[in-house]
Each structure stands twice: as structure tokens, then as C-alpha cells.
């Protein structure tokens, strides 16, 4: 029985996801003591280290506008649904390249006796209440499951979930209309949410990771002050500039700022 982490890293013209994955792999080894496999189409620079490299052709050539980049970029996010077939591990923790591992919190996920778990609630570390809108999707406000952190064991149920996600990705226009999703771009979070609903007979009671996903959004400034210690500057609800320290794992939505942190590190 093997356990490891799987990170998808398909670079585009603006974001070096492979560098993010390499930096994340170092954090993962330090905190979780787990091997890391990366799925990419890029040549791995000599100074990077992954326990396994899986080459794949990027799927899902989407245009997406990231607020911090201020322009649309090509976004290859269609391969995540292949995690089940691509993973070399029996128990796999799939992490976004921009998920920052700053503690051993994810070790707890490995102890969960479920075939598949993901986060059901994310929150804005700056406390903006509007962020809650992101915890649902589509006109019918279906509950969202976040594909940022997924843990699965090789099992019939996990296989079914990923196969359903593949069906949803391959027929995105149909599912987009069915759930009345206004955004045209395919998102793994939506595919996962729809798949979990389908696999569970539309009763919306799939077991999740029992804590919430901390999120630093595009419009917040993220800087690293020390190892595993970050400062987040944001505009509070009263319109005034505020800041706080973050000493936990989090999802960094601002790719440019995370890229700057990684550049300074290496």
C-alpha cells in the first residue's frame, strides 16, 4: 500500500506551475513526509525534485481571466479528472500547485476512513462575507466541493467519481446548461461537485474533509515573512487597509504573488 501526493503542473505563458509544484513538494516532504508525483508536459529542470514524473498532454485548453494577471491566460485544467488513472499511489492526495502546505494538517486526511474526501467549505482569510458565494455554484446554488485538495483510496467509489468527472468534462456544455452555470469556463470544482451529487444519488451528503479551506484571494497581497509564516494584506469591510499573519495551510488564488514568493525562495 503506497501513499503519496499528486500535483498537476501545466505551465502557460504567464504562470510557472511546475516551479510552484517543486516548491510545494519541498513543503510536503518537510511537513507530511510523503513522496510527490507531478503530472506535466514540461521538461523537469535538473534542480527540481519529484519522486515521480508523469508526462501527459494538457487537456482543456481554456481561457481564464485571473484578476491578478489582468488579462486572460490559457488554462490547462482538464487533466485533473484523470488523477485516478494517472496516480502511481494506492492512496492519493491530489493538491493544487497553488495550495500552500505550511503545517502537517493534511496528515489527518490520510487517517480518514473514506474512499474519497474533499473540502466542502472554503473561507476568505480576510473575512469577506461575499466569499461565501463561492461555496455554491450555478443558478440553483448547488453546494460546492473544492477540487483544491482531494484524497482518494483506490476503490470502486473513487473510480466512479473520477469517471463521472470525465463525463462532465467531456460534455461540459450540457452540464453547464443543466445546472445553469453562467461561467463558460470549465472548472474542476464544478465537475467534482456535480459528480459527487450524481454518484451519491443527488442527496448531497458526501463525507467531506472536516475543516474549512483557508483561501487568500487574488485581490489580497500575500508575502512570506518567515518559513511557514505569511502576511496577508487586504482591504477590510470598512474599506481600510488591514493585515494579518497566516501560519496554516491555505489556497493561494493569486498566482503572481505566489510566484514571487517562490522566486525569492530559490
Amino acid at each position: 500500500m503506497t501513499t503519496g501526493v499528486l500535483i498537476f503542473a501545466f505551465n502557460n505563458q504567464h504562470i510557472d506551475y511546475l516551479a510552484m509544484a517543486n516548491w510545494s513538494a519541498q513543503n510536503i516532504r518537510r511537513h507530511l513526509k510523503l513522496p510527490v508525483a507531478v503530472v506535466t508536459d514540461s521538461t523537469i529542470p535538473q534542480q527540481y525534485h519529484f519522486e515521480q514524473v508523469i508526462y501527459a498532454t494538457p487537456e482543456g485548453n481554456y481561457e481564464r481571466r485571473f484578476d491578478d494577471l489582468n488579462q486572460p491566460v490559457t488554462w490547462y485544467n482538464g487533466n485533473r479528472v484523470d488523477a485516478y488513472t494517472l496516480s502511481p499511489w494506492s492512496n492519493t492526495l491530489v493538491l493544487d500547485a497553488d495550495y500552500v502546505v505550511a503545517s502537517n494538517q493534511l496528515k489527518t486526511v490520510l487517517d480518514i476512513d473514506q474512499d474519497f474526501v474533499a473540502h466542502q467549505r472554503a473561507y476568505d482569510v480576510g473575512g469577506h462575507p461575499n466569499f461565501n458565494e463561492h461555496n455554491t455554484f450555478g443558478q440553483y446554488q448547488m453546494p460546492m466541493w473544492w477540487a483544491t485538495v482531494m484524497f482518494f483510496r483506490r476503490s470502486e467509489q473513487a473510480q466512479l467519481i473520477f469517471e463521472s468527472m470525465q463525463t462532465i468534462r467531456n460534455n461540459w456544455n450540457h452540464y453547464k446548461s443543466l445546472y445553469n452555470i453562467s461561467r463558460t469556463t470549465y472548472r474542476n470544482d464544478y465537475a467534482l461537485s456535480i459528480a459527487l451529487g450524481t454518484v451519491n444519488g443527488h442527496v448531497l451528503n458526501h463525507p467531506g474533509i472536516p475543516w474549512s479551506l483557508a483561501t487568500v484571494t487574488h485581490n489580497q497581497r500575500l508575502t512570506q515573512v518567515d518559513v511557514d509564516r505569511y502576511r496577508v494584506d487586504f482591504v477590510a469591510q470598512d474599506g481600510k487597509p488591514k493585515w494579518l499573519y497566516l501560519t496554516q495551510d491555505f489556497h493561494a488564488m493569486g498566482k503572481v504573488q505566489l510566484g514571487d514568493i517562490i522566486d525569492n525562495y530559490s
Binding site: T108, I112, G127, P210, K242, W243, L246
Partner: protein
């Protein structure tokens, strides 16, 4: 960081209320642990439940799975986890107060 950002950075004030809330979210996760094949969140509710039991007890974990535990032994585990994490929480909270 350009000059404009540096000025904004220096003028920003520490948000105690939001930092406190974020710390709470962090420790909600840290209080969760595995025991006897189930997942649990250390806290007063679980401690009180275990105080009401003796010997072998069957209680529901976070996923509503019935799990057989030794009440006394498990109480010790939960109590230890609760105190460890609350202590760590307190230390971070006091650090946070210094930033005011």
C-alpha cells in the same frame, strides 16, 4: 514591492478580529484526529459524552459511523488533544494580541 505598495503596507493596521477568526478556523482543524478507526473533534461535547460512559462504549464519529471505544482510555486521548491544541491556540492568540 513598489513605493505605493510599500506605503500601503506600512499604513495597514493589524486586523485583530479577522486574525482571531482565522486562528479559530485553524484550530478547528487541529482538534480533529483519528482514533479506533473513527474521526473525532476534541472538545467539551465529546469529553462530556465520554464522561457519561464506562468501559466499552459505542459512539458516533464525525462521519456518523458507530465506533467501539474504551471510554476511559479514549477520554484521556481526547483530553490530551484538547489541552495540547488549546495551549497552542492560547500561545498564538497572545502573539496575535501583541500585534495590536
Amino acid at each position: 514591492m513598489d513605493t505605493e505598495n510599500l506605503i500601503a503596507h506600512a499604513r495597514a493596521r493589524f486586523d485583530h478580529a479577522v486574525a482571531k477568526r482565522t486562528l479559530r478556523e485553524k484550530y478547528q482543524g487541529k482538534l480533529i484526529f483519528a482514533y479506533a478507526g473513527g474521526m473525532w473533534q476534541a472538545g467539551p461535547e465529546l469529553l462530556t459524552t465520554l464522561k457519561c460512559c464506562t468501559g466499552t462504549a459505542i459512539i458516533l464519529d464525525l462521519y456518523e459511523t458507530p465506533i467501539k471505544v474504551n471510554a476511559e482510555e479514549f477520554y484521556e486521548q481526547v483530553s490530551q488533544r484538547w489541552q495540547e491544541q488549546l495551549n497552542a491556540w492560547l500561545i498564538e492568540y497572545e502573539e496575535l494580541n501583541k500585534n495590536r
